[in-house]
Symmetry: C3
């Protein structure tokens, strides 16, 4: 254990709660990592090449990190964003700016994850600052060049049992194929993310729509053709390990139209001459169709709705998507999901996992829905809320109504591969902390708490995503 | 005290807070129970018959309990719901399923209430599980058959001083009459709940509307007739003990129309040819009329708005209402109540108690409204939020703006008679806990805290509902 | 230290957290007070006259205080509100009613601030109650009559370094001029609050619009004239010390219209024949214009949107504005601010501080906006939420996403001059408490916590409002 990570971090400072938290944590800390949803690059595990350097691995691609520096007036170019491959000197400069401003991350989960990566993954024993920036840069780069830091070696060192990536529905999944055909045993699977076929206002909808026909080698003239083509793509993903789909629309709206309404809507969409209302209706109907397909092929549905993408127009035009300017908006689930749930929500084999960026829906909508419908589960705290306080709020606002067994454990949802063990460690610590409070307040026995913690860390994730342990 | 209920449960584990909580709790734990709002069946107290068995009493009628089992894929029929009277073997089977799955309730208030019922009401000393299911079933059934477990005996054992039930406005109140005319001294009163006359979209509106005229023996051609008829029904309820009305509309909207607007709206409603907008306007106007009548007859108004009823269409069609599929939606009070409050909100004798399923309104709307208008009070945390964490959030988000004296103590709001002492005990413990924190942090003296706890448990309830202690 | 204010008040009762909180508080408790936003009366410091008496100073003008008494049925007239200058006997009566009902404030921040004023400013050693009312009244009045209690003497005793008042844009700022021209060194500056020129539905818009032309001595026929005239008023305010503007609209809506759209909208507004939609569009466009001017003249923008003013019609008609009937409504920032932020949000010199009465926006909107846009900062918890629990929620819901360095320290926002040190003391205690928790849970070092506390108390305020320390 490195000197600057305290073994009791994130546990309550109340001595009776802390002692219980240690016991619970001890029981779960070494369980395998199951990562059912995230955005790592499958080529890493297919090609197993070394990562380049500290800045290009940890700063430039991580919008959690550079958005904070940007918010304080440091230009994205200065941080290497959108500058193509950096040479070592440029990377060193980016690292220096980051280290000088590391105090900005005080109190944030990014700080906690990064400290874990430095201390646990790279075994560095002094905190990062302007003064230690150079040592850090060299130490990290040296280790990254070794065989022990190749992606597959790290995957094994991190004790990852299952890792899901996320791909768009026309992806040929060649990296997953390579991994499947290799002699490496690591389980890296894909997830079906069809927003560019379900959302007519998706920037890539028009191209994807046109490409679908040739991808599945059939003509698409009617709505039933469209559904059949998408089913084929789902089958292809299932062959490459997918056990889940993932959906992200602006709202949670669903619809249940008649056959003729569907056909007439589809013809409008197909002509690309549709109104915003048509687009919303189509998204809503497609969610219901996705649920129908999930009942057939068994794929778990993940709903990540309610994000205003690319809010900052100049940043989007200069630097593109995923630059820290995706922002939460208020969302409504109860009315929106009624058509879908009244049709399919009572199906005991269907899993629909609800995520939210609007924490007001935890106690008001998600917990009551998950606490009634067999098909609905509450996904873990997401994105901005995947933080110690965010996870505590999730527990306090979801569990009393939904129970623990209508939740699905933790998602790291990250593109930062090295942070995966850090994120799972924070989640396990917060689980231990929250359960310890219930035990110390005589709301649950310690034995039950260990049981629940194990379920949250391992069994509930496997069950919700239908992974075979 | 049973072995598995800890005497300090729900108090903070911080030793200084816990000691203070014990002192406060000691001062209030034996105060009489005042239950100003709930849904117990008055026939129990009129007829005083023994309850049948554990499953038929505790599982089949309690949607808090069966919804959780249903959410995990256990069929409602398997749980005895909608199956008519169960024989003992069927009841035993239901009980067994419940016991086997009792772990699903970990972390929920249902678990805490049920444990209290088992330990305190039935004096069982080991926790419920599959292994103890049979013993539980027999032990509970044996006791239920005794005189000591007849409704009136339990009412007295529970130390209930006042218990309000809730009836629709055309109810003849025969059970209340029987109780009034009996020599039993227990105070069981009714509450006037006129949604089927104020909401044109209520499933029973058409029938109730037609039945009202004959119930009050007058012709109803104009809006003033309608109001007069409703007034008569209120008088009838007052004669049977009512001190409050209760209202549940989809939104909190109120209106203040001119006489001619009211009349023309009424004629549309009366013809049953109205639009959704007409229905909303009528509901809004009726709330204002109810406030006017309350100023005359003194009935406290309870507003339980903002619930999406019967969300799950197949469950509603097969099993009917109140099957765990009533779900909260976001609600707005400030704009919605402005017409009513600008008209009547400054009246010092009017009591309007606001309940919410949308906790975001606690600090944003309810507390500021209660902290200004003489007529407005903040009702306790309701339904899904009537839980330890829910009550803590209520205190933390309401009191700083509204003060304790614009709240009205606790409501158990239950149809599960045996859980009443359990629910009041949880409320008293959480009151003690929250006040102990203020004392331990030197924000209030211990003497004041005991004073406030007593007011919350007893005096503020009696005052808000105009009960004579 | 007075006997009834505990030195550890508001710190956690957990002993490890409390010890750390003391250390942090020790480091910041004597730092100068910087008060960048508030509503004190500049004439106090210009004329330096003694205040009259306890009731006229502490009760009658403070809507925080009298609204609570009013909510419990005590008439505003009984509290001296709207009665003109009170004589000593009348003031005494008001004081007596307040003292008799002081228990109503239990658990509120008003109670905490008042106790501080009594104990620390007036050095009274026993709590206020009906029994001590007379002693309090006399003791306070005696002290108020002394030189030591003249406004400038108190300003110095309170260790105020900068105090900003708020004036409407046509104000001649004569009191600020008097202060500037005096030999007194106290820094009392103004703030530019142009709602009566940016909001066509503001009750004073019509008069202000007409008065603007003569105030700046120019003709205003076109939108560009209007902007030029407002710029002149901003220059005048800058000459009198202003470093910030302040804006309060019903919503956060912004717009970015073309020149011709602006001109045509302006002509409608100018004719006073505009629809509610026109008014909203004009407010939205004016916010964008204000941002453009701020980039030129450097004034920090404060947005205090989302309040329903004068909700209680009879109270407004009889007693006027600011009588405790301004109520929060739900607000949306992400969509609303997009036009303005995409235009100016990346400007590193622009400061836009977001305040909210809707706490749901903390984690959902404000923190993500502040954690991305260089121009956006999160203002401290405001009005109803400027309380111990409110500040704790702010910290827990803002910091993990925005970090501490996208916040701007504390605002007292008060018209109650004597409460300024009380309010800053509560803020410093809660900062110490929240940081102590992070330290005790090993999420931050104690050294870093002291650093952050100092930044929150002093440096971040000066930076956000461009004050020279």
């Amino acid at each position: 254990m490195s000197s600057y990570l305290h073994p009791d971090r994130l546990f309550s400072s109340d001595s009776s709660q802390r002692a219980i938290a240690r016991t619970i944590y001890q029981a779960i800390k070494d369980l395998p990592i199951v990562s059912p949803h995230g955005h790592t690059d499958p080529s890493w595990f297919a090609n197993n090449q070394n990562f380049s350097n500290a800045a290009e691995l940890l700063i430039v691609p991580d919008h959690y990190v550079f958005r904070m520096l940007y918010s304080q007036g440091i230009g994205l170019s200065t941080l290497g964003v959108g500058q193509g491959t950096l040479n070592l000197e440029q990377s060193h400069q980016v690292w220096k700016v980051f280290a000088d401003n590391y105090y900005l991350f005080r109190g944030t989960p990014s700080r906690m994850w990064l400290d874990y990566v430095f201390a646990e993954v790279f075994n560095i024993s002094q905190p990062l600052s302007g003064a230690t920036a150079d040592t850090y840069f060299d130490t990290i780069n040296q280790q990254l060049a070794t065989d022990a830091f190749k992606p597959r070696a790290l995957f094994e060192r991190f004790n990852i049992e299952t890792l899901a990536t996320t791909e768009q529905p026309l992806d040929k999944l060649k990296h997953h194929k390579t991994i499947q055909q290799s002699d490496w045993q690591g389980r890296v699977i894909t997830t079906f993310r069809p927003d560019n076929l379900t959302d007519p206002e998706h920037p890539k909808f028009r191209d994807s729509f046109k490409a679908l026909a040739s991808a599945v080698d059939m003509e698409i003239s009617h709505f039933q053709d469209y559904l059949k083509a998408i089913k084929k793509r789902r089958e292809y993903f299932v062959e490459h390990g997918a056990t889940a789909t993932d959906h992200s629309h602006p709202t949670a709206f669903t619809a249940d139209l008649s056959s003729s309404q569907k056909e007439s809507l589809f013809q409008k969409i197909r002509s690309f001459a549709f109104s915003p209302e048509d687009a919303e209706l189509f998204r809503g109907q497609m969610m219901t169709e996705m649920a129908a397909m999930s009942i057939e092929d068994g794929l778990t549905m993940q709903l990540h709705h309610g994000c205003f993408r690319n809010h900052n127009a100049p940043v989007y035009h200069e630097f593109g998507a995923d630059k820290g300017a995706d922002l939460p908006v208020a969302i409504e689930f109860v009315k929106a999901l009624q058509p879908l749930l009244s049709k399919y929500g009572n199906h005991p084999e269907l899993n629909i996992i609800l995520f939210t960026l609007d924490e007001t829906t935890y106690s008001r909508e998600i917990a009551p829905l998950a606490g009634h419908y067999p098909a609905v589960k509450a996904g873990p705290s997401w994105w901005f809320h995947d933080s110690p306080e965010g996870m505590i709020r999730f527990k306090e606002q979801i569990i009393e109504t939904a129970g623990f067994y209508n939740t699905v454990g933790f998602n790291d949802d990250t593109r930062a591969f090295l942070s995966i063990p850090a994120r799972h460690d924070v989640a396990r610590r917060i689980d231990s902390r929250c359960l310890a409070r219930l035990v110390a307040e005589h709301r649950m026995s310690e034995e039950e708490a260990v049981d629940v913690a194990t379920d949250l860390t391992y069994h509930l994730v496997n069950k919700a995503y239908k992974f075979k342990p």
